[in-house]
Point group: C2
């Protein structure tokens, strides 16, 4: 383990200056402070309060996710994380990690400068700076729905997508559907790839043919439906599986605007079971991700990583919620 | 939640008799006691000390696994589980679950009768009674390397096999091997299937052709090698990936008995990194499963399930251990 002396020796400066740099003192220059932090990260220096596990504070970085009100995806995740953290005596700070912040300073430097022994990263995309740094970071970190294999300091928490897609596909299969479309989320995301794999797996298990024209990448929002739904319908889709409830809400809107009924003409399913799901018309058949438990599990995982237990992933059991947006396939000629 | 009165009403007996049946009193008949327990399980009755989380004892069922000495697979797993459990104030009992015991009494009845709020099942095979009952049990239970999807009370802990097989395959690929055989474990096991999937995935990623003649199911012991290794060699295998260190030790023995050198003629890799791995000649290149952390994670998972957090799985990060049993592929003509 590197010491303050090692950092001083590396930079050819005094230990006092190193301490000032690490402690954010105002009487050294900003370039010197950055040089100290940079060397400290490079040498794997850890402050005493982190080594002794006396630092009882962790942080959550949020990006591209709304979490301020209870109907938003992130709200309960953060609530569950905080609940579990507080029960173990940890303080939690939520930080908005915009791209600018990520470019300015490396993740490890930020964590060292603020004395956080661990972090939870919410909804970063594969090309973000922080996510790229996850391959090499030595700071215990948990990612939501984003997997960085091979680094024992980084774990991922999510819901078992194989189970979720299997439940939905089985349901549609039982209802007689054989022309099933899949409107996935944003392409640059691990979770999108996992959902696609799970969709293929589930369709194969039920021996339903997969047709390329019925599979598309959209975005995790309501607006992407317009681009794909008319083609799906033209190509004979009788059911559309959506990778999120927001996508499904858009799909229902587009189908209605085309004069089609849901579920009489086309069945639609969601994913997440956001609070909006049951208020849609028709109420959405979907997969519930228990977001409070996701948050709690994220802290459990982070706590394990901070104690040197190299958990790679925790996946939760999803729950299939049958409502009104999927029904028996329309018999030909009716 | 069912009460003692509900059980009494269902059976048409007094509450006093039900209490006696539940508490193992000696002055009621065995058939009556079984009837009480059976009805209690059916109605979902839970003793007060379990509902109030006052029962601070859990159990580990072991079958087909040696765990008495440190060089055996189960030893450190149980040690890690106990360590984590004790730190949370739980007592742990290790129970040998032979098939006879499983036939005599259902899992839920056993757990109710002994007042255990949760259990860890070590190394049961897919067709065992207890494993079959995992689809419907309401008792929080953790399985090692055995996944029962769809039951929110049951979770699974293991090592990420995709990572493990990817690391091994990449290593052999770098060493120039393109005729890679895979000697898997016992067929009736989820972990064997997972390893097979992971092997296919890893081979595809490296664009190495998979040849059916180079893939076989053996058993998780040293003796299965004789049946398959001569055929592998005849079919041109330059490297043999084994699903466990025990299998690998057998493979090395057979290769030696055929007059072949490891790794000069054929490379061999293991899985698990048991204590024997580094004593083999040559020392085994393998994948380490951190067994203490597996045990610790099993308790973390069980604790989460007992608190109503429906974690479906926890997977640990494996570690690739390069030793001497895999080397550069022999160039033709040498």
């Amino acid at each position: 383990m590197a010491t303050i002396k090692d950092i001083a020796a590396k930079l050819g400066i005094s230990s006092g200056t190193v301490s000032k740099g690490l402690n954010g003192a105002s009487d050294i220059s900003e370039p010197m402070r950055q040089a100290v932090l940079h060397a400290a990260v490079e040498l794997g220096y850890k402050p005493k309060n982190i080594v002794n596990k006396a630092s009882k504070k962790v942080c959550i970085f949020v990006q591209n996710m709304n979490y301020e009100s209870i109907d938003q995806f992130g709200y309960e995740i953060i609530y569950g994380f905080e609940q579990e953290a507080l029960s173990k005596g940890f303080q939690v700070t939520v930080i908005s990690a915009n791209l600018n912040m990520q470019t300015k300073e490396s993740f490890d430097t930020y964590m060292l400068r603020h004395g956080y022994p661990g972090a939870f990263l919410l909804d970063f995309e594969l090309h973000d700076d922080y996510v790229t740094q996850m391959h090499t970071t030595k700071v215990p970190t948990v990612l939501l729905n984003n997997h960085v294999p091979g680094n024992p300091h980084v774990g991922y928490v999510g819901t078992d997508n194989y189970e979720g897609l299997k439940d939905i596909t089985s349901h549609l299969h039982e209802l007689g559907h054989r022309n099933i479309a899949f409107l996935n989320g944003t392409k640059n995301s691990m979770i999108t790839q996992k959902k696609l794999d799970a969709f293929y797996y589930a369709m194969k298990e039920k021996k339903i043919p997969i047709r390329d024209k019925l599979v598309a990448f959209g975005h995790y929002n309501i607006d992407c439906a317009q681009e794909f739904v008319p083609d799906f319908v033209r190509n004979g889709a009788t059911a559309i599986i959506c990778a999120s409830d927001f996508i499904a809400s858009g799909v229902i809107k587009v189908l209605h605007s085309m004069g089609l009924r849901v579920p009489e003409d086309v069945s639609v399913t969601g994913y997440d079971d956001l609070p909006i799901a049951r208020f849609l018309s028709p109420a959405l058949t979907t997969i519930r991700q228990n977001r409070t438990d996701l948050g709690k599990s994220a802290f459990l995982l982070l706590d394990a990583l901070m104690n040197g237990i190299a958990i790679s992933r925790i996946e939760l059991c999803p729950q299939f919620i049958a409502r009104d947006s999927a029904a028996q396939v329309k018999t030909l000629g009716k």
